[in-house]
Amino acid sequence: MPDWEDIIEVVLLQNYNTRLVVLSTTLLGIAAGLIGSFLLLRKRSLMGDALSHATLPGVAIAFAVMVSLGGTGKALPGLLLGATLSGVAGLFTMLLIRNTTRLRDDVAMGFVLSVFFGIGVASLQMVQSLPGASAAGLESFIYGKTASMVQSDFHLIAVVAGVASLISILFLKEFLLLCFDDAYASAQGWPTFFLDVLLLGLVTAVTVIGLQAVGLILIIAFLITPATAARFWTQRLLPMMLLSAGIGGISGWLGASISALTPDLPAGAVIVLVAAALFLLSMLFAPPRGVIPRLMRQYRLRRKVDRQHFLRAAYEILEDSQSGDVVSNSPFSFAHLRAKRTWSLRKLRHILKIAKREDHLEAADPGMLRLSEAGYGEAARVTRNHRLWETYLIHYADIAPSHVDRDADLVEHILGPELVHELEDFLKQDSISTPVPPSPHPTSNENSPS
């Protein structure tokens, strides 16, 4: 295990060798986060995967060409140029298959992914046997390897990542329109083909500069995971992109740092695992769209509905048992309450337990229940709201669907005081003035869910 000094040295970038690696994977992560957001929203993730696999033949061919020109064949810019060209060739093969045959997109992508990767693996083997040069290390482009990075590599990665990020921000509006509604974009005269090519060009750029550190198999995860994680936190594009860039950057930084501390772990895999961990956290806990907050919201809503059903049932029992305009609080029997709705004994006991905890119930004789002062007030309020809503739905059925927040605590906030007055007038049949209006339908033994 590395000790604390090592950890601090690596994480704070004090070590020169790791600094290059960590900085470049961080920048790579930021660019991947930004561009991955659009790739995700354009629903082209699988296409990005096919593209990255299609880069491998180019690496081998570029090596062979550089060796035949008398070099070592390991110059990164040359290898990445080859990767770019063969990635683009893969892309055009996909387009060609799609356009000239009636095969579906996924077939074209699956075909290009596997065939280009196969060609790549085979040609890597072939260039191993070229005289006068060692091709050892080329296969690190498949899984990623950071150890061999030198300063000029870092400069290349930094510049490409920076430019790609800037372009993605510059074209924010255009990409947004393309991803949301490409037909509308075309109709408005935007060059959607060019925009698609530009977007895939940016994806290619990030893929190619990520080959060395992350590898071509895992780079797609680095493009997609931060954006998917960010989507859980926000409903707006710009925050999503910035968050995605942040998650990508943190993954690159932490992943490369961990890998530097434990040389057995390849950087690419660790980076993707860090991103996946952040994704998992987002999926579970992000308030707007995460799984657990959503379950909690559902639970709270159920409890609220239960409480309102109980209070309304109680109020209606009081109403039925009393003659006169003003309903007053008095004890009523458990059996009476149970007959009011179709709830199981177990459920009703549970509801009553919660009602006691919330001080809506007071102590009463055995078999009897009595609302507290607070519970009685709440019951009157809940009943009034419910009846106003019902009346509203009955009299304004046409416009009601636009006010769907039916569980809102106060109808006035939704409908406005004027409309509430009007509704109250509807309810005041025979000009009876009561704090709680009569129900617009018979209430005894009400079984209908609401």
Binding site: L41, K43, R44, M47, M94, L95, R98, N99, R102, D105, A108, M109, L170, F171, L172, K173, E174, L176, L177, C179, F180, D181, D182, A183, Y184, S186, A187, Q188, G189, W190, P191, T192, F193, D196, R231, T234, Q235, R236, L237, M240, A397, D398, I399, P401, S402, V404
Partner: protein, 275 residues
Amino acid sequence: MSQLFKRLSPAGDAAGEDLSFHPEDAPLAIHDLTVAYHRKPVLWDVDLDIPDGKLVGVVGPNGAGKSTLIKACLDLIPRASGEIGIYGKPYKEQRHLVAYVPQRESVDWDFPVSALDVVAMGAYRRLGWFRRVTKQESENARECLDQVGIAHLADRQISQLSGGQQQRVFLARALMQDAELYLMDEPFAAVDAATEEAIVSLLRTLSEKGKTCLVVHHDLATVTTYFNWLVLLNMRIVASGPSETTFTRENLQKTYGGKLSLLEKAAEALRHTVE
């Protein structure tokens, strides 16, 4: 990927189109239009002239080519033959005069934008490359939402709107373009009564301002009340004219079955004689 390759071939042969026969003032004049998917014709020899300022309802059975007609007018799909004139010129010169309301299902509504963001897209063309939505255009977008009665939902994420509200967002986006000709693809499909009412009153307002609206519609019960010009379509134009004279039993029969079943009978008879 699906949309990508279509753009390689320019939609329509705009170059060399002879539009001289079209009256200058016709918002939409289609001559001899044929559109085919995979060599199977969807629209066949369509000739259509839409007079200015009309509320036009386009009706026809499923697969009659109603949406295809609109998409062809917008150069969204390549055409096998024919010319389309928008106020006398090809669409690509007249984009600023045309607003498009696509089918609601054509986009993914679980998209990280608000209702206001979508409406603002109607201003992207006038903003041009790289310019962000200005304060002024945001205000305009809010007004357009107000015109369809959902200004209070401007900041809602679009997946949290009801279907009818989403449809109204699309209409507001078209209003944002401040066009002369509105092409709407099934705006009444699966909307609530309140939205239907809002769309109808919007159509009336547009018509009063002298705008022309071409609306794909599916409800024969309302078509004559909502529209004053009718186009009956089933691969070919069956009839086109003022609602009261066009909405006849005979025309409907031709559009929705009469002729089709006759063809089927002929094919059936032919098969029997061959066997």
